[in-house]
């Protein structure tokens, strides 16, 4: 087809066939291109033509279509996400070494140490192929962490599944959980927490979010840019194959539609052992200072890596695509550019360092190929056997994609929903309350997640100080000083469905509170915003309200968003998931030895409840168990959260409290049960004084989900000091009971007694009953 290189020797037919060069594109403006099949809209395709001043080549079309997909370009969310930057103050940025826009944010935690962390979604691939989808989700986020120059040290996985008793749920639970375990355990990374929530809205759209944390010294930060004219561009790691072509990008940018035949899944198969070698190999490259810039290959593969590296650096790059090492030699240039083969990285190396780079590759037995070099022409030029098949301004591919200000409006059904407050079953007498606590603790969302977390390695590497089922995962960073970090992820889709603005604030409040409950000072935020289709104005409104709420809440709590991910089109046949803004908060400890576990241990310690209990059952786990969803979610009082966090952090540091557990889903009943079951130590609890002080009945005291609350256990010798501190900060605090190491029960005096054995059986049987 290409006749423009008359002077060149006869090309080998197999490789030249169908190669659409820039010259050919210029000569054949009328050629029809499959832009719609690649997911581009007509106006987007017209814009590509306008930018290039001609029709794109097949390879250029491939690049633009994946890079301008929702997943890669954030075209629907960008206009809202900018609030995360706009609402950040200089004080909030004090600990930020790298902010939004890079592969992951980097936070200063002191002593020259820094931590990088980020949460991303792998929802769509995990529905199609649960094991590999979840596994490669872990692999992808870990590579983001490596490309910042950090050693990955832990992962977490917030998950959402459909109804626990739906026939398709076991397929997804088994596949996704073993995929996460299979990949993470093989990498030797502890999985220190996350969430598992069941709900019928997630039936056709399970959420698999993956968070990774990495540790580095300040001087080790690496960025994704290609600077220094003449520097060499190298692709290394796994070979490029035909797997996952357009997977994350195209698949994650459209809804699953029951009417259409299922999309031929563009899934990838991961190889965790190859990734492990890649981690060690990259860390050695960083240590030897032989790379100038580095980028992992995720969604959109080489298209993304070349255009982002070039546009973030000196603006130009020249690449010979036939030099890419292939697993399948029949791939077309467009496919090579779009392939989402796993375990690949791209780096920029000075000519002086190429030998050193190659030596490290040989040592780790990692394949590599030099693809080209950095230029200052402002153009990304990609050739195929010396013929130009891509000639674009890389910024137009990577950054100047379409931006949509999509219409949104408040759903008309929301008023009626918010008026429909919970007026269902409220158990009153002791027997009914006792049965209600057992029912609650056995419920799919409240039951023990041991069956899942036991499939993950939580303690490998020997630095895990806390993991599930404690409030946050805690890992030690510096083995000498004990410096460490705590991370928690939270989201409540029901709260967000009732009120997306408040729901986002509540998600942040809970993650923030969880981190503080372990004794760590919250520093920074990452988020993964999971929503339905942005083309639905009501979903778009939920999204806009969520971002506004989260940005406001970050501002009020003084913790910045450092990065994250948006996952849209989580809907099947017109039904969107509940808005699910997963918020991860990272906090720092001077010494992880001071961490506060969630369970009681020492007999006779006083149990205090911090915070005020209101009649807030709308959106609660109890209402959910009664099939009700309506009303307004609990109020998020962030000033109170700040004070509570300060009390929890200071009293942990000063050795005043020995256990702390936050109150969230399931309220006081859940918190007391979990604190007792953690180490199998019971307590005698009195709630009558609480009921009187807060003007609530015993049921509300136990099941309300009012925020800004936590229970702590305080040694007798520290009670005066603890009370004084709470009084000085004017925070409601009430002694509600005593740890009892002898009675083996949760004794809510005057109401009911629950032997811990009975409670544990109910709590731990649910998941094995359904899935084991």
């Amino acid at each position: 087809m290409t006749l423009n290189s008359s002077a060149a020797p006869a090309p080998s037919e197999s490789r030249k066939f169908n190669i659409d060069t820039v010259a050919h594109a210029t000569d054949t403006p009328e050629l029809e291109l499959p832009w719609a099949a690649l997911g581009l809209k007509e106006n987007e395709f017209d814009r590509v033509v306008e930018i290039l001043g001609r029709r794109p080549t097949a390879a250029e079309l491939a690049m633009y279509s994946v890079m301008w997909s929702e997943h890669c370009s954030y075209k629907s969310s960008k206009v809202h996400l900018k609030q995360f930057g706009d609402k950040v103050t200089d004080a909030m940025k004090k600990h930020l070494l790298v902010g939004i826009g890079e592969n992951a944010g980097v936070v200063d935690i002191g002593d020259g140490w820094a931590v990088t962390f980020k949460v991303e979604s792998h929802n769509h691939p995990s529905f199609v192929e649960p094991y590999q989808g979840a596994a490669t989700g872990v692999g992808g986020i870990v590579r983001d962490i490596i490309s910042m120059g950090a050693r990955p040290v832990a992962i977490m996985d917030p998950l959402r599944f459909g109804a626990i008793d739906h026939p398709d749920t076991p397929r997804l639970v088994h596949g996704i959980v073993s995929g996460i375990g299979g990949y993470g355990n093989s990498l030797g990374l502890p999985n220190i927490g996350g969430e598992v929530v069941f709900g019928s809205v997630y039936q056709g759209n399970p959420l698999v979010n993956a968070l990774a944390v990495g540790v580095l010294r300040h001087e080790d930060i690496r960025l994704a840019n290609a600077s220094g004219v003449g520097n060499k561009v190298v692709l290394f790691g796994a070979r490029t194959g035909g797997d996952g072509i357009g997977g994350a990008s195209v698949l994650a940018s459209e809804s699953f539609d029951a009417d259409k035949p299922s999309k031929r899944p563009a899934v990838q198969v991961g190889d965790p052992f190859a990734e492990k070698v890649l981690i060690e190999c990259c860390l050695e490259l960083f240590k030897a200072s032989v790379v100038e810039g580095i980028q992992d290959l995720g969604a959109a593969g080489i298209s993304c890596a070349t255009s982002e590296l070039a546009s973030n650096g000196d603006g130009g790059m020249h690449v010979e695509l036939t030099d890419v090492l292939l697993r399948d030699p029949s791939l077309t240039p467009g496919e090579i550019l779009m392939s989402e083969s796993q375990e690949r990285m791209m780096a920029v190396v000075t000519p002086a360092n190429t030998a050193a780079f190659e030596a490290i590759m040989e040592k780790w037995n990692v394949e590599y190929s030099w693809l080209g070099e950095v230029t200052d022409t402002g153009r990304l030029i990609i050739e195929w056997d010396g013929e130009k098949i891509v000639d674009v301004d890389p910024r137009t591919v990577a950054h100047d994609g379409p931006v949509y200000n999509r219409p949104f409006h408040r759903p008309s059904w929301l008023d009626a929903l918010q008026e429909d407050t919970f007026d269902g079953d409220r158990p009153a007498d002791g027997d009914a309350l006792r049965a209600a606590v057992l029912e609650l603790m056995a419920a799919p969302n409240m039951c023990s997640k041991d069956w899942i977390t036991n499939q993950y390695d939580r303690f490998v590497q020997g630095n895990t100080a806390l993991a599930m089922p404690d409030d946050a995962g805690v890992v030690r960073v510096d083995e000498e000083t004990g410096l460490g970090v705590a991370i928690s992820t939270d989201a409540n889709g029901r709260y967000s469905y009732l009120n997306p603005y408040e729901g986002a604030r509540l998600a942040l409040a809970e993650a923030y509170r969880n981190v503080a409950t372990t004794g760590a000072k919250p520093l920074a935020v990452t988020d993964c915003l999971n929503f339905g289709s942005p083309e639905d104005p009501e979903v778009m409104w939920q999204f806009a309200e969520t971002v506004r709420g989260l940005a406001d809440a970050c501002h009020e709590l003084g913790v910045p968003v450092t990065g994250g991910n948006v996952s849209l089109y989580n809907q099947t046949g017109g039904v969107a998931i509940h808005p699910t803004p997963v918020v991860g908060v990272l906090g720092v400890f001077d010494d992880v030895a001071r961490r506060t576990p969630s369970g009681w241990r020492d007999d006779g310690q006083a149990i205090y409840l911090l915070g005020t209990t209101r009649n807030e059952l709308d959106g609660s786990e109890w209402a959910n168990l009664r099939g009700h969803l309506g009303g307004q979610p609990p109020v998020a009082d962030l000033t109170a959260e700040k004070t509570l966090a300060a009390i929890l952090v200071n009293s942990s540091r000063d050795g005043m409290i020995d256990a702390a557990h936050d109150l969230s889903e399931g309220g006081l009943a859940a918190a007391l049960s979990e604190a007792a079951l953690r180490f199998g130590v019971g307590a005698r609890i009195g709630i009558d004084e609480l009921c009187e002080r807060d003007g609530v009945d015993p049921f509300t005291a136990l099941f309300s989900e009012s925020q800004g609350r936590a229970i702590v256990s305080v040694a007798r010798s520290e009670e005066v000091r603890f009370n004084d501190m709470c009084t000085a900060r004017n925070y409601p605090h009430l002694r509600i009971g005593v740890v009892d190491a002898e009675n083996g029960a949760l004794d809510v005096q005057g109401h009911f007694t629950l032997p811990l054995g009975e409670l544990r059986t109910a709590h731990e049987a649910t998941l094995p009953d359904h899935f084991a």
Binding site: E129, G242, P265, V267, Q268, V269, D271, F273
Partner: protein, 89 residues
């Protein structure tokens, strides 16, 4: 008793980490004549009576729904094994 054999292979475009590992091990052990390895799996379904078209159809359905993961694997063979006295020929 007759047996039906089902062969399953990873789809050609999909990464096969096991095959890759074997391909890496071959030259280390001196087997230098090979340029690639793909590893699949083989099932043998024993049938009590005669292999009717209906039984074969069941085997095909089982092959594409249970024995293979159609997202990442292809069923490359479903056929009756010639009967031998010593099992596998």
């Amino acid at each position: 008793m007759p047996r039906i054999v089902v062969d399953v292979m990873p789809k050609p475009e999909i990464l096969d980490p096991q095959g890759k590992a074997i391909a890496g091990a071959l030259p280390r052990l001196g087997f230098t004549g090979f340029t690639g390895v793909r590893q699949g799996k083989r099932f043998e379904l024993t049938v009590a009576g005669e292999v009717t078209e209906e039984v074969l159809e069941q085997a095909r359905t089982a092959a594409s729904t249970l024995l293979s993961n159609p997202v990442i694997e292809d069923v490359t063979r479903v056929e009756v094994l010639p009967e031998t006295n010593e099992g596998e020929q």
